[in-house]
Subunit: 503 residues, 2 copies
């Protein structure tokens, strides 16, 4: 790069970092709102958040950025691979922000604001017909968005691409289709097997003890509290990045493992954010990848690691010390089976790690068919229920526990669901490779020695930032294309023994 | 107002509210930094705060605001009194922000940044000569600022006016001169009188009990926790406004009343912010007045009310319950005398409410003489020590406990000190009037019935926002010009009996 090109690149980086800083200001305002703000602060806070969003939008869509991007594009031959990736990421964001006409953006905002309220009513009254016309409008608007953003084969591609760049209806359809085909028979067998003992989980587990254990788990896996916090919020989340990463959870006296695994999950997100390249924070190289990658990190720490027998063994003495009467007479095998209990259920957010993917597969299929026109909004409830029966063997008694259960469609977030399942598949695929590379992973977990595991994740995943597209990253790290087989192997090896099923 | 003028006025109001929202975003970022942020977050936070300050500055100095102001000025005859006050406040802020050339602003910023570091060094080494040349430069820069801002009689007027609009060197000099003259003999007499018993205050007072009492005091005087919080910070402060007002304090096991009165003080600030006109929040009519008024509120709740015998009586049973052994055998009179102990001391921030004003009088005189050229920087330490001896009867053993003790000059905050003392004088002047208007104030305090007192403050002070200049407000509320006599009456009536002194 000559001096001029370098100046352009540096100018774009400095500007990008400032937009990132504004993003993190928003995150702090929102964290504060959920965790600290007194109730009467909501009115001013809403204005503040909207104001910062406005400043961010203005900065993100400033034509100056467009000029920088065009200049770098014209001379992209002079950029190295990292710089090319940075340009690719910034260009996509810029185009997605600038391509949509303000009229359409406003129309979507207005429509979803109404639709969200109608969805709440619709769900409360268990009457899909209230929400249906609004969903119809949203699907129409999303089709217009897709036409403007552009797509390779089908409009749904454009929506998926907004969440998982590079992914298509075909690529996700193939992966989730494979998952569904292999998973359904497994879920059938598990549902037919005798359920493990779980009586002790409904006892009273003091919240102070839960807090102690959750914090211990978070710290022992490597979450750095000099650069992070753990607090309480109604809806658990992880926010922030770099030197200021904040986790939240909630505690219920009769659900001791909800907070324990909830914190491990959020800490998994947190370790990703703490593991980003410090010198690149605020730019695509120091920015976490899509949700399909982020969720791979949280789920790996929660499920592959946290819900392993080795992790339970490592924590056994602390658990027994914290809950001497509650866990009295409960063997490690019983505890292991109980916290890994699988049971088909109707509500996605309560699903276990095995059935979860089926909840997503059906949503993906329905979104795909709504966008292609193969499914009409009026036929949605019937299609939903048919799939639930087919995949999970159970039937919603009404649409509130069926197609009205999730908020996503009401706020226009079509194309968002798949990432949840891709996160599980990626977790298994990454973890299989991690097992190969690190060696004696179970032994290390049982010894509470997470250093090498975390370092592997830092090196192979976290420190790439957005250098690769999510599917590229999976292939780059694991040496094979994203698939569902590692996840199925994980399911077979873990749940086969628990439920006495041979694959 | 016709439609066009109304549109201009409304446009200016909407813009002003957005700038206020940005201000409150900064406040949340700073609160979070002091109270919540993990240590490694500091680097990003500093950038975020600077970024929001930049956005605020840009918005505050936007020529569009200048046009609105000019348009309203040209037709000010059509504005009502409230609108005229709003225009006066907005115009002053706009002019102060826009008049200084960016070069000078940068030079001040650069100079004070260095000077602050040199002041730290200077204080640590107890060597004024390190800081002296930097203070010299700062005084020079402040003179240039004063010339640009303009003044009636002397450059120091311009600096005072930045903190207390309408106040002048002459008006403040008269008031603080009167205070000093009357106070010095009082302090002499008190210093000569036998000190009250204070041995019990050095016992161990568990922090949990301190927290409970401080919170109880805060709530009982009317601080609304639906619209506020109390947390811990190294340097206690109050921030926020309207429905989100946040107080902080700190706890030391051997200083039980530091947190108790610290919280009452901050809650006094907080009640002011919570008492602003909701419909005018973010505009001058819903914005608290200067520090001379704000401190009058905090000091009134802390001193006039909190340190009264009536308040102690009201809290006596809770204090005895919280500290049964520590306060065993301590009578209410002994406690009252102990928490109102007066003793000349060298450090301003540790001074009691009687001697405090003398610390400020001497700083005011020195600033005034530095600005007028009557005092040179090199003669400052000698002048300081002479005044301390004259006013307080004690001598600093070095400049660290003399003229190097405060941060203010090193950051260029010349003209800021007087407001601290004006706050005490205003508190006494307001409280004397409150006593007249409300009636049986001591009885109400002793009964824990603060409703009428708070309502009086809301009605007479809080709900005016910046409708009046600070001195105007004092006169408007109390019916007489700002003076020192009510404060002296308060001193005589309260401390005379404690120290057996008749005035």
């Amino acid at each position: 790069m000559d001096r001029t090109l370098e100046e352009t690149y540096d100018g774009l980086m400095a500007d990008t970092k400032e937009i990132a800083d504004l993003h993190h200001v928003s995150e702090i305002l929102e964290w504060d709102q959920e965790v600290m703000m007194p109730p009467r602060g909501i009115e001013a806070r809403s204005r503040q958040v909207a104001l910062i969003a406005g400043v961010m939008h203005q900065r993100s869509t400033d034509p100056r950025r467009g000029n920088w991007i065009a200049e770098l594009e014209a001379r992209s031959g002079e950029l190295n691979d990292e710089q090319k990736a940075v340009l690719r990421e910034i260009k996509r964001d810029y185009e997605m922000s600038t391509k949509l006409p303000p009229d359409l953006v406003q129309e979507i905002s207005r429509t979803t604001s109404i639709a969200h309220n109608e969805w709440i009513k619709s769900r409360a009254q268990k009457d899909f017909s209230i929400f249906a016309p609004h969903l119809e409008t949203i699907v129409g608007l999303k089709k217009r968005v897709a036409e403007i953003w552009g797509y390779a084969e089908t409009p749904y591609d454009a929506l998926l691409n907004a969440y998982e760049p590079g992914a298509t209806t075909a690529s996700i359809g193939k992966r989730l289709g494979e998952l569904r085909e292999k998973l359904v028979p497994w879920v059938e067998k598990i549902a037919a097997a005798p359920a493990p003992r779980r009586d002790f989980l409904t006892k009273n587990f003091p919240i102070e003890q839960q807090k102690k254990l959750a914090r211990a788990a978070m710290e022992v896996i490597g979450f750095n509290t000099d650069g992070g916090r753990l607090d309480i919020a109604v809806h658990p989340f992880c926010t922030g990045t770099g030197g200021d990463v904040r986790l939240t959870t909630r505690y219920f006296e009769n659900e001791p493992f909800a907070s324990f695994y909830g914190v491990l999950h959020e800490a998994g997100h947190g370790l990703y954010e703490q593991g980003l390249r410090e010198d690149a924070l605020g730019t695509p190289l120091g920015w976490s990848s899509t949700m399909a990658i982020h969720e791979s990190q949280s789920r790996m720490w929660e499920n592959e690691i946290g819900r392993s027998r080795a992790f339970l063994k490592f924590f056994e003495s602390r658990l027994q010390e914290a809950y001497p009467t509650q866990l009295s007479g409960v063997s490690i095998d019983e505890l292991y089976a109980a916290i890994n209990h699988v049971e088909p259920s109707l509500i996605r957010v309560e699903a276990d790690e095995v059935t979860y993917g089926l909840h997503i597969a059906l949503r993906f299929e329905i979104e795909r068919d709504l966008l292609s026109g193969e499914l009409s909004v009026s036929d949605l409830p019937a299609a939903w229920n048919k799939k639930v029966e087919e995949y999970l063997g159970i039937t919603p008694k009404d649409d509130a526990e069926g197609c009205l259960q999730d908020v996503h469609w009401s706020i226009g977030a079509l194309g968002y669901f798949p990432s949840y399942a891709l996160g599980s598949l990626n977790a298994a695929q990454f973890f299989a490779k991690l097992r190969e590379d690190v060696g004696d992973v179970d032994g290390k977990i049982e010894a509470g020695d997470f250093g090498e595991i975390l370092e592997w994740l830092h090196t192979n995943i976290h420190r790439h930032g957005r250098r690769y597209l999510p599917d590229e990253l999976v292939e780059h790290v694991t040496g094979k294309p994203p698939a569902a087989d590692d996840f199925m192997t994980y399911v077979a090896e873990k749940f086969g023994p628990i439920y006495g099923i041979s694959s």
